[in-house]
């Protein structure tokens, strides 16, 4: 029994630490997403994001550096990955806390 409890406790510590790390990584990513809009045959770039719960679209110009486009594309990809990871970690935390919250002292 002591082995199982020890493993569960260690895993809970791991998940709590991981939650913090993934939240930090998410905060580091550039906010919003760069989108290209076709208006009357011309392409215009906008940064779309949510601020204080409201949708916002900020004009970026007729062209954006390829590096910048890549940066936002990568951020979008990692944001999705990290959010998925975070949701999995939160489920783990709930499960582990529940498992450790028995009648016996832990």
């Amino acid at each position: 029994m002591v082995v199982i409890k020890n493993v569960l406790r260690e895993e809970l510590e791991n998940s709590l630490r991981m939650r913090k790390r993934y939240e930090e990584e998410l905060a580091k990513l550039p906010k919003g997403s760069l989108v290209a809009r076709r208006i009357k045959g011309h392409t215009y770039y906008y940064l779309v994001l949510r601020e204080k719960g409201a949708f916002k679209s900020v004009y970026q110009g007729k062209s954006v550096a390829r590096k910048e486009l890549q940066r936002y594309a990568e951020a979008k990809e990692f944001r999705a990955k990290y959010r998925k990871a975070l949701s999995q970690i939160k489920r783990q935390i709930r499960y582990l806390q529940g498992a450790l919250r028995g009648k016996e002292a832990i």
Binding site: N14, K81, Q88
Partner: protein, 232 residues
Amino acid sequence: MEKKQYDLCREVLRRLSNEAVLDRFILVGSWCVVLYADCFKGRGLLPAIRTRDLEFLVRIPPSYRRKTDLCELLRDLGFVIDYKGEEGYMILEHPDLILEFLVPARGRESGKPFRIDALGINAQPLRFMDLLARNPIRVPFHDVEVTIPHPANFALQKLLIARRRKQQGKAVKDRGQAVAILRALRDSGESGRISAVYRSITASWQRTIRRELAALGEEGLLDLRNGPGNPT
């Protein structure tokens, strides 16, 4: 074993193998028991209860043909870098797997992380790791070959570290794994291998192992009747 975790482990090993990094690593820790269980099929060795840690012992000197940024190599799988303990040992974390890097501790214990610039990581120096690096074996793990410690070395190392554990639960787990593996070796007719490893280690380590086995009532697992070096 959870399929997602198993698949991620496979992918990590495959990538390390493609970069010729895996050859310099020895997989240690509880994942070895999973692989031993395959080797000792039908001998009653069950995969151990374990955490998500996937621990690699890095052979030193860590000579690599070219630089490989391990963090970048695994980043798209969703791994993030974190640092453990006061000394800042690097770990790569994922909700399903935590990668840790270890090296044998040499000389006085400083506890400082061992830098491996060629891989862009640091490793934690630990005692008794040398024993795991002696006579390693190679076993297939799907499409790659993984180097793991010989089961006899693994089991005796577990007995050596059990007493040093601060957490009682970990010590119990170490002893349980050691005894299960030693029994599986004995039942496979490989007691001679246990004796050979036992005879290769220092007298003080031998004493610790004898003491541990005696406390567990398992002295019989150390069959030293054949050959020199019987304990007094």
